[in-house]
């Protein structure tokens, strides 16, 4: 039987702590995907994922149910991402190219040997997107990721970020605009 998020929360709060693992299974991939695209590194994304669910578990009693559980979870994850980004920027700044030089620190779709040239081309394009996305200010990057990859509505993003819908739309517009300009520039360099 499939329980709703709210039902699982009720069961968890009633003492059935194992019920929370259902929420983890349900939401770990979206949270991981959001964190990975925000931070660009698998290990950071995993850490944020862990932190997010731990924080949610510890503060479950504070969740009032006014918003959706997923919105609350996304908000926790984004806060963790921003906190990590701030720490990263406070440390010695590494250029995105240097980071790539250390090894492949981002995930792209993988497959066998079949269609290798096409895949290489796709990987190159994915890397360009990753770089362009990373070059965006975090406030724009997060709305683009939530809209494009998490397929959330403008209203849902507004709820998560607790900002007006018009601001979300404006940020998406500016983000796409900057992404487009950067990608065009990158293609010109190739």
């Amino acid at each position: 039987m499939e329980f709703s998020d709210d039902q699982i929360i009720e069961r968890t709060l009633a003492g059935e702590t194992d019920a929370f693992s259902q929420l983890v299974r349900r939401w770990e991939r979206p949270i991981y995907g959001l964190s990975l695209r925000m931070l660009g590194r698998d290990e950071d994304a995993r850490d944020v994922c862990q932190e997010t669910f731990l924080a949610a578990f510890r503060n479950l009693r504070k969740f009032r149910g006014d918003a959706k559980f997923s919105s609350w979870l996304y908000r926790i994850a984004l806060n963790a991402c921003h906190s990590r980004l701030r720490k990263q920027s406070a440390m010695a700044e590494q250029s995105i190219d240097q980071e790539d030089g250390d090894g492949r620190r981002f995930e792209i779709a993988d497959g066998g040997l079949e269609g290798l040239p096409e895949r290489l081309q796709r990987d190159q394009r994915a890397e360009m997107v990753r770089k362009a996305l990373h070059a965006l200010p975090a406030e724009m990057r997060q709305v683009i990721i939530m809209k494009e990859y998490e397929e959330l509505t403008f209203a849902e993003i507004a709820e998560i970020l607790q900002i007006p819908v018009s601001t979300v739309k404006s940020r998406v517009y500016t983000g796409l605009q900057q992404m487009g300009a950067r990608l065009q520039k990158m293609r010109g360099l190739l």
Binding site: F20, C49, I108, F154, Y173, L176
Partner: protein, 236 residues
């Protein structure tokens, strides 16, 4: 009609940016969609913007995550969380009582550290703060020999007390033992006398019966004897 602008740096400034992204992601209502489509007929900026943004979205779609291994989430609970959970099991009133008790204990500990003294004597309640003053004269310095002597005296005194105590206990025990022994002797003597009396009484009774029997037989034999030939009974 708006003039066509090239590049992403200056897409359009018609004031319908929000409508454009709403339309781009398919979140417009039927009326909004119809309105925006009418607008795009006149606005090259929005029309080009829609095309360019569509291309960017297509690029964004190139970065798809592959079959990623599930991140392992381990919900480690801290001792504090476990304590909270344990506390949560108890009813509110018991938690309140425990809290008040803990607060009172804390207060007492704090007061004792602060040197507060509370006294209740002859119905008078008194509280005094601060540690006792240094009005008491300081103890004079004592040498180690004196301390040794004091210790030896104390040990000797203690030993003497112990010896007295043991002697008293021994004497008491001896008295108790003697008294017990005497009582047993008296009981045995009384029992022996009683048995002797009983035996004497039985013997006396037997003697009386025997005497009675012998007397009767003698009388009968005397009267039954023919002593005409020997009237004196001595053969003369």
């Amino acid at each position: 009609m708006n003039s066509e602008k090239n590049g992403f740096d200056s897409l359009n400034d018609c004031g319908r940016k929000e409508d454009l992204v709403t339309y781009l992601y398919g979140e417009s209502t039927v009326m909004e969609r119809a309105s925006f489509e009418r607008h795009m007929g006149d606005c090259d900026g929005c029309r080009n913007g829609l095309t360019d943004f569509g291309r960017v979205r297509d690029d964004l779609g190139a970065w798809q995550l592959g079959q990623i291994a599930r991140p392992e989430i381990t919900l480690r609970r801290s001792r504090l969380d476990l304590l909270r959970e344990l506390i949560g099991v108890f009813p509110v009133w018991s938690r309140g009582a425990a809290f008040i008790g803990a607060a009172a204990a804390m207060l007492l500990v704090s007061l004792s550290f602060a040197g507060t003294r509370i006294s209740l004597k002859d119905g008078d309640f008194a509280v005094s703060f601060g540690r006792p003053g240094n009005s008491a004269p300081a103890a004079p310095a004592v040498s180690s020999e004196e301390i040794n002597l004091m210790v030896q005296n104390a040990v000797a005194e203690e030993r003497k007390k112990m010896e007295e105590l043991y002697s008293a206990r021994l004497a008491s025990f001896k008295d108790r033992l003697d008294a017990d022994h005497q009582a047993k002797l008296r009981a045995a003597k009384a029992e022996q006398q009683a048995q002797l009396k009983a035996t004497q009484a039985a013997l006396q009774q037997e003697m009386r019966r025997f005497n009675r029997q012998n007397t009767s037989a003698g009388i009968r034999a005397f009267f039954a004897r023919d002593d005409s030939s020997d009237p004196w009974g001595d053969g003369r």
